[in-house]
């Protein structure tokens, strides 16, 4: 029989009161050495190279804290040395070379070696290994190690392979350790070479990291970092407002505006590499160029940004945001409802006899997604387009898109943290991509040759030309570039990352 004495009951009551009232509960990271981040997603898996999590852009900040990428990336998307200090092709681009950083150790103290790099690339390139972009990594093979230089044969030339080394699944894992503990063992006790080491993890609750004292990039600013997984936006607002977290992100813009001026808090809301767009699927009324162009010219993007997103966002006319490599500011698709009405009239449509189709959208998956589509549909109605809104789950969107069964118009957001046109215009518009909606030979003829173009200037210009052609044909309706609201305590300094990854290494004491 278990008995609680009066003294023990008193101790418990005291403990509860102390827990509730202790001032250090909400102590600032700047005063202590622990950074609490109210994070917007859960971390399902520690393997950054395999499975659905590996291609989830919102988790990359955590992966970048524990692991290092082959190639690093600055907050402005520029590339920098990572675990590779140098990289490139030979002259005829039939081989690649990579110089591996020296004097790096894994979190268990074992040395990081070129063998780790080769093993990781080979593991990622296995068709049945579970890497969602295995085709990228399988493009190089027949590795040779000479000191700290790795060379490999190019099986299929991909001008973007080194950019992918700073992108999704571009993380180096420890060969010897992984082979020793296996996939499940690695999930339970992961190690990397990154700035922080995994100290404790409870799925759907928190991840506690400790600074890696032997980090090759210098000791990180905080001794301890706690990612609290708080997917509910209201709860994240409460976390930062109550002071129990030091930083949070992706809160509603209304809350951001309210809290950024509150004493003790600051805010940053900068554009990130994530855009909103409306896919157009060919067939039916969408085969009419006048209808497509009318859809594009009828939408007042600035008003949507101003009214719905409180001014946070950047209107775009192509799938390239200003920070991307193939951004061309001269490509314009102006808001012109008169022109839209004229185009529709040329095809026999008017406000009295509107063209009708369905537009699909998520609701609550992205900020104001449904409201944006309601606004777009309202603007379309004013020129003679009667669109019926269908709400669906994001999982359904992926399946319909893969099988080319999306509605004539479908809202979606598209991330591209390396800013290369292959990962925006390329995959969104090339008919061979399972994620494209518009399939036509004329566009494929323009995009197809660019995948293997070896002249970088020519390649980027080719993508700009493709973007101009897409805008002229109205094959897609780019809406806006999202801005990411970040709230933090005023005694901290946060460097906004265009990739959207809120890495703890970008937070410091001000």
């Amino acid at each position: 029989m278990f008995n609680i004495t009066r003294r023990q009951a008193f101790a418990a009551s005291g403990g509860l009161l102390t827990t509730l009232l202790a001032p250090q509960r909400f102590a600032s990271a700047a005063a202590g050495n622990t950074l609490n981040i109210a994070y917007n997603v859960n971390l399902p898996s520690f393997d950054p190279d395999v499975g659905p999590s590996s291609v989830n852009p919102t988790i990359q900040a955590i992966y970048r804290s524990v692991f290092d990428q082959y190639i690093g990336q600055k907050p402005n998307l520029a590339f920098e040395s990572g675990l590779l200090t140098g990289w490139g092709w030979n002259d005829d681009k039939s081989k690649v070379w990579m110089d591996v950083r020296q004097n790096v150790v894994w979190h268990d103290g074992s040395p990081f070696t070129p063998e780790d790099v080769v093993w990781t690339i080979q593991r990622e390139g296995k068709a049945d290994g579970g890497n969602p972009v295995a085709f990228i990594w399988a493009g190089i093979d027949n590795f040779k190690i000479d000191g700290h230089r790795i060379t490999a044969d190019v099986k299929q030339y991909d001008p973007v392979i080194f950019k992918w080394m700073a992108f999704l699944t571009g993380y180096v894992l420890p060969k010897a350790y992984y082979e020793k503990v296996g996939p499940q063992g690695f999930e339970k006790k992961p190690i990397g070479t990154g700035p922080y080491m995994v100290d404790a993890y409870e799925g759907n609750a928190y991840l506690r990291l400790k600074a890696n004292p032997k980090y090759w990039g210098g000791k990180p600013p905080f001794e301890t970092v706690v990612f609290k997984f708080v997917p509910d936006a209201t709860s994240r607002v409460a976390e930062i407002e109550s002071g129990s977290s030091d930083v949070t992100l992706e809160v509603p813009y209304e809350e951001y505006d309210r809290l950024r001026v509150k004493a003790g808090l600051k805010g940053e809301c900068k554009p990130i590499s994530d855009i909103a767009q409306i896919f157009i699927t060919n067939g039916g009324v969408m085969d009419d160029k006048n209808v497509r162009l009318a859809m594009c010219h009828a939408v007042d993007k600035q008003t949507i940004i101003k009214r719905l997103l409180r001014g946070y966002g950047v209107a775009i006319d192509t799938l390239e945001a200003p920070e991307y490599a193939a951004y061309d500011p001269s490509i314009k698709v102006p808001y012109d409802p008169a022109l839209a009405a004229k185009l529709l009239a040329a095809s026999g449509y008017s406000k009295e006899k509107p063209v009708k189709f369905t537009i699909q959208t998520t609701r609550g998956f992205k900020p104001k997604d449904y409201e944006m589509i309601q606004a777009v549909v309202g603007m379309w109605r004013n020129v003679g387009i009667d669109a019926n809104i269908e709400i669906y789950e994001i999982a359904k969107h992926f399946e319909l898109r893969m099988t080319h069964k999306l509605a004539p118009a479908a809202f979606y957001n598209w991330g591209n943290a390396i800013g290369d046109p292959t990962c925006s215009t390329g995959f969104a518009m090339f008919s061979k991509s399972p994620h494209s909606a518009w399939h036509s030979d004329d566009l494929d003829a323009k995009i197809g040759p660019l995948w293997g173009e070896k002249d970088e200037k020519k390649r980027i210009q080719g993508w700009k030309d493709a973007d101009r052609y897409i805008a002229e044909q109205g094959y897609i309706l780019p809406l806006l570039q999202y801005a990411q609201p970040i709230l933090y305590k005023s005694d901290l300094k946060v460097t906004a990352n265009v990739s959207g990854a809120l890495q703890p290494t970008l937070v410091s004491k001000s």
Partner: protein, 335 residues
């Protein structure tokens, strides 16, 4: 007789679970949302997609997939989670305790709170106190658990920031546990400061889940008590000079509690269902929170395991309620 009831219910439970297994398996494949479609990269070709489907065993015919899965289930192998890369059995085993602790604590709070108010209302019947209790109870009944959750967040995490909003325990204290029953273990092992910390984390989710159930208990138990209080045996006890509180607790309550137990049992299953949203709001690491991620990511093996687990919990609760009611009511026991 009780043994016969148990055997009968166990057989029915197995049949129900088998039905649940078939339904969830088929539904997941019929409802749009292919897990491979969610993870393929934009540049993946048909061969890449086929390879990923093969990797996750989704390329086999439906019947074959079902056979492989159900054969595993019978032997305790629910497969491997697509998103977590861990055995489903292991994941469920590690999360279930958190939800059980939360649900049981919420049930206890609801019973004590609801039962106490019902008895107080009975003692105060035909007075202004009863009217006040009925009015407050109507409000409590009308507000669902997730609204309670948000209201509690506003009060105790924002306006008066005295309670931790998220998680189950402060990360610094989450060590040295032999089980995942953190609260129970910390109390049993005498780590009362840790228990207090866990309780402070559990206060808001517990209240959010408990208040609607407490309101139902108040309404039903109070009504049953009022009916019991005019029965002859209560009148006899009153003539004997028993005090009002003793009349309620000793005479009326024993006879009035049957329907409340039955309802509480049924509502307890709803309470466990309510953990899905409440755990999400408070970032509480139980099976409810896990279920939302599993559905969003179309993690078929995990969803299947979770649905079977929820089904098993519901069945066990119902069996428990039936047995309790049968034990307390001789007419049912011998029927």
């Amino acid at each position: 007789m009780l043994i016969a009831i148990v055997v009968n219910r166990m057989v029915m439970a197995l049949l129900t679970l088998a039905g649940v297994a078939v339904v969830v398996f088929v539904l997941l494949r019929v409802v749009p949302g292919d897990p491979v479609a969610m993870m393929i990269s934009p540049g993946a070709g048909p061969a890449d997609i086929a390879a990923l489907k093969a990797h996750y065993g989704l390329d086999a015919p439906l019947l074959t997939q079902f056979w492989i899965w159900i054969r595993g289930v019978v032997t305790g192998d629910f497969g491997t989670s697509i998103t977590l890369h861990l055995y489903v059995t292991e994941v469920l085993a590690s999360r279930l305790q958190a939800t059980l602790e939360l649900a049981i604590l919420a049930l206890l709070v609801a019973v004590v709170f609801g039962g106490g108010i019902a008895i107080a209302g009975t003692l105060m019947r035909r007075t202004a106190g009863e009217t006040a209790i009925d009015g407050l109870n109507s409000i409590m009944l009308a507000v669902p658990d997730f609204i309670w959750a948000l209201a509690l967040v506003l009060i105790f995490a924002v306006a008066l920031p005295v309670l931790p909003l998220t998680g189950r325990i402060d990360p610094d204290l989450a060590q040295g546990f032999a089980t995942k029953f953190y609260l129970a273990e910390s109390i049993v092992t005498g780590r009362f400061a840790v228990a207090a910390n866990i309780l402070s984390h559990m206060t808001m989710p517990t209240l959010a889940l408990a208040l609607p159930l407490a309101a139902m208990i108040v309404r039903l138990l109070k009504q049953s008590l009022k009916e019991a209080m005019v029965q002859d045996y209560v009148l006899l006890a009153r003539i004997k000079g028993f005090r009002e509180l003793r009349l309620v607790l000793q005479e009326a309550l024993r006879n009035a509690i049957g329907p409340t137990i039955a309802l509480t049992g049924v509502q307890f299953t709803f309470l466990i269902g309510g953990t899905v949203i409440v755990e999400r709001i408070f970032a509480y690491p139980g099976i409810g929170n896990l279920a939302i991620d599993a559905v969003i990511n179309r993690d078929f093996p995990l969803i299947q395991g979770l649905v079977l687990l929820f089904g098993l919990i519901f069945i066990l609760i119902n069996i428990g309620v039936d047995l309790t009611v049968a034990t307390l009511n001789p007419r049912l026991r011998h029927a």
